[in-house]
Amino acid sequence: VSERDLLSAYLDDECTAEERALVDERLARDESWRTELDGVRAARRAVRELPWREPPPGFVAALLEDAPGTRVAKLRRRVALAGSAMGTAAAAIVAALLVAGGSQGDVAPAVATLAGVAGASDSTITPMSAPIDLERAAQKYDIRRKVLVGTTVDEVRRDGRLIARVYAKDAADGSLRVEMFDEAGNVLSGTVPSGPVATTLGESALVDWDVHDPRTAGDNFTLVQRRVHEGGIVELSYSDGVLSVTILEQHGELDWDDVPEGGVPAELAGVTARRYTTRHGDVWVFERDNVVYTCVGRAPADELAGLAAEIAG
């Protein structure tokens, strides 16, 4: 412990009389000590003056509704654990889609188990968060890099609109965080991308119907992964280098009686759909040519809708 570490304790009145005397003595004769004291005082003030951060409207009420022990709370907790790949609320919608499934004859939208997700013991799929590829993203976005206390921050913008911030810490653990923003500049999600670094395509032979899996879609999105889950549910992951969109495909007719409540009827390229708007982004459900599609994404609404419309059309 350096003697100078005493400066903050001195400021906080957390040192002994002996230590205080030592600091007083150093301050009296060493300007660098005085400068450092002024610096940490300013930093302390900046943090103490941070405004109280209010949760989103309805958050506390939702906590009370979801008291532990209820089925909903359990579901959300599980989703929250799995939620690094997408916003919790959007993940909850997907989980709700699962819960709603099971009617005779037709297909209830989405999905099965995603292996390897902590806490996801049953019937939850967490769409992949594609690896960040800023070089590729630079084809579509303006990217500006800043360095802040050993952390590199890349701001990703399009036409001046902030799309995402990518935080990467220096070498130690290489951890990386991405914040996505909606059209109003609100944070859609704060995530740590997971999943394979390398692009992987495969497993198409595991289903006996024609999967609609174009290699490119929407605005510069590329297919980066294709997986098949239990029950023949195909998961397609698209990325534009920053945003990730996942298309879940199931063979069969969509059972409209079996989609969860909360969404609104909508239309995508002339196809009847249902749109769920969550704080973390949208979820689209529709059917085309005997395939049921569920589209979710770590992406602003317009990007997701554009890609979903292309699939639907």
């Binding site: 412990v1 350096s2 100078r4 005493l6 903050s8 906080d12 957390e14 450092e36 610096g39 940490v40 300013a42 930093a43 302390r44 900046a46 943090v47 103490r48 951060r53 209010e54 949760p55 989103p56 958050f59 506390v60 906590l63 008291a67 532990p68 907790r77 690094s84 916003g87 919790t88 902590a118 690896p131 960040i132 800023l134 993203a137 630079a138 303006d142 500006r144 890099r145 802040l148 206390v149 050993g150 952390t151 590199t152 921050v153 890349d154 913008r157 990518v166 935080y167 990467a168 810490k169 653990d173 290489g174 951890s175 990386l176 965080r177 609100n186 944070v187 704060g190 995530t191 997971s194």
Partner: protein, 163 residues
């Protein structure tokens, strides 16, 4: 004593905002803060039976801090994606006016979020929650001397980032 122990509903109703504020300062974003609060309240539910009346907010801050640190450890076990090492590859210029629009508190939060986690936890518990060094030491399981050092070095890094 039982009367002094809040129910889970009282904690969620009366201290949910407090938990969220602390969680946000630790995590730096809304989605993670909400997840931290949810998980913290699960632990509160389990821990209320052993809670000894005292500084309830100190106890809650300790729980949400532990949830945050556990979450970090879990994330470190997953991951990682490397970024290009040459900034020039991805650095098209953009409007200088962008920075001017950034709110000061956002800048402080970003600097806070960029601190090493152990420094960030110490600074948040001291300057956001208002715990004493002794309480922070108990909460984080490290000696008071380490708390001193973390708070000071955290503040020094913040100062460098904000200057």
């Amino acid at each position: 004593v039982a009367d002094l122990v809040p129910t889970w509903e009282e904690v969620a109703r009366d201290h949910g905002r407090f938990l969220y504020n602390v969680a946000y300062r630790l995590a730096g974003n809304d989605a993670d803060a909400q997840d931290l609060v949810q998980e913290a309240l699960v632990r509160v539910r389990r821990g209320l039976s052993t809670y000894t009346p005292g500084s309830l907010e100190g106890w809650l801050a300790r729980i949400v801090t532990n949830v945050f640190l556990d979450d970090l450890r879990r994330r470190r076990r997953r991951r990682t994606v490397a970024l290009p090492e040459q900034p020039d590859i991805v650095l098209p210029p953009s409007a200088a006016a962008d920075e001017a629009r950034e709110d000061l508190s956002d800048e402080v939060q970003r600097a806070l979020t960029a601190l090493p986690e152990e420094f960030r936890v110490a600074v948040v518990l001291c300057d956001v929650v208002g715990l004493s060094y002794e309480e922070i030491a108990r909460s984080t399981g490290v000696p008071v001397g380490t708390v001193r050092s973390r708070i000071h070095r955290g503040r020094r890094l913040l100062r460098e980032a904000l200057s």
